[in-house]
């Protein structure tokens, strides 16, 4: 059981990538909006899409961790 918990902890490390990715994307999006405020609608939708895709990795890691703890 203790090994499984360590494995689940490692699986949740995928969150680091998602955090860095979303932070980077949001920073760039705010820069872009500051430069061209009139394009904020398009920038927002592109940001939302990118964030959703980047967040997917974190979610997969989270679900893997849950599977390890509760099923494995």
């Amino acid at each position: 059981m203790s090994l499984a918990i360590i494995a689940a902890g490692i699986a949740v490390f995928t969150g680091i990538g998602a955090g860095i990715g979303i932070g980077f994307a949001t920073g760039k999006a705010s820069e872009a909006i500051a430069r061209q405020p009139e394009a904020s609608g398009k920038i927002n939708s592109a940001l939302l899409l990118g964030c959703a895709l980047a967040e997917g990795t974190a979610i997969f890691g989270f679900i893997t961790a849950l599977l390890i703890i509760f099923v494995g």
């Binding site: 899409l49 959703a52 997917g56 979610i59 989270f62 509760f70």
Partner: protein, 231 residues
């Protein structure tokens, strides 16, 4: 700690609300019952809000509804292109259902989207919409040709996407709702008063609505990708 773990494991499974005494008992999951509640609320709201519509003197409710529908239509139009008309009602319905299902945790009910079967069904319907539209508007040959775009080298990746897109849609919604639900249960276990109410605003309202937008937005975008004409 053991009691905590037990509550978590209990929350993770899907509870059976009742059993239909037919053919040796058909179990009806809790998510189905909550889905019925969501459907009932939406149907009653639709019936009540669309009474007394008029062209000459629209009331406040009618104006609000019209601007909401117009917003939806505009959103679908910009993302799908000229064939937007048949997609808008479906996407709006899915958005309403997922939105209500996600924020129903506020009223103390279990969100149906916490059940992986519900999100799988939604993702499969999205997949049918995406690839059905691709073949409907391009013909069989044109639809198959879309898999080889933007260049034939990407064919395996495009074919893999047929599976990965619905899987990601399903897991994203399920994981987010389940994660929020587990964190809320932990909070309720540790601090039973006040604090859960504050966090509920983020985890139930904000996160639920964001996930609704993401689901509908991704479905729209993928559909548009399959049928948009080259300019």
């Amino acid at each position: 700690m053991d009691a905590f773990k037990e509550t978590l494991i209990e929350e993770l499974g899907t509870r059976t609300a009742f059993t239909i005494p037919l053919f040796g008992g058909i179990p009806v999951a809790e998510s189905v019952v909550v889905s019925w509640i969501v459907m009932a609320v939406l149907i009653v709201a639709a019936l009540l809000l669309t009474r007394n519509l008029s062209v000459r003197s629209p009331g406040k409710v009618q104006t609000a509804l019209e601007s909401a529908v117009q917003f939806l239509n505009g959103f679908v139009k910009t993302n799908i292109g000229s064939h937007w008309r048949p997609f808008a009602p479906w996407l709006g319905t899915v958005a309403l259902y997922i939105g209500f299902a996600n924020i129903i945790g506020i009223f103390g009910l279990t969100p149906p989207t916490k059940d992986i079967s519900v999100t799988t069904a939604l993702a499969l319907m999205s997949m049918l919409l995406i690839y059905g539209a691709q073949f409907r508007y391009n013909g069989l040959a044109g639809g198959l040709k879309k898999f080889a775009e933007p260049m034939p080298l990407l064919l395996p990746i495009n074919l893999m996407e047929v599976i990965i897109r619905p899987l990601a849609l399903c897991m994203r919604l399920f994981g987010n709702v389940l994660g929020a639900f587990i964190i809320m249960e932990m909070l309720k276990f540790i601090v039973p008063a006040i604090l859960p109410a504050v966090f509920s605003i983020y985890f139930d309202l904000f996160d639920g609505l964001i996930q609704t937008v993401v689901f509908v937005f991704l479905t729209t975008l993928f559909t548009g990708e399959g049928i948009k004409e080259e300019e």
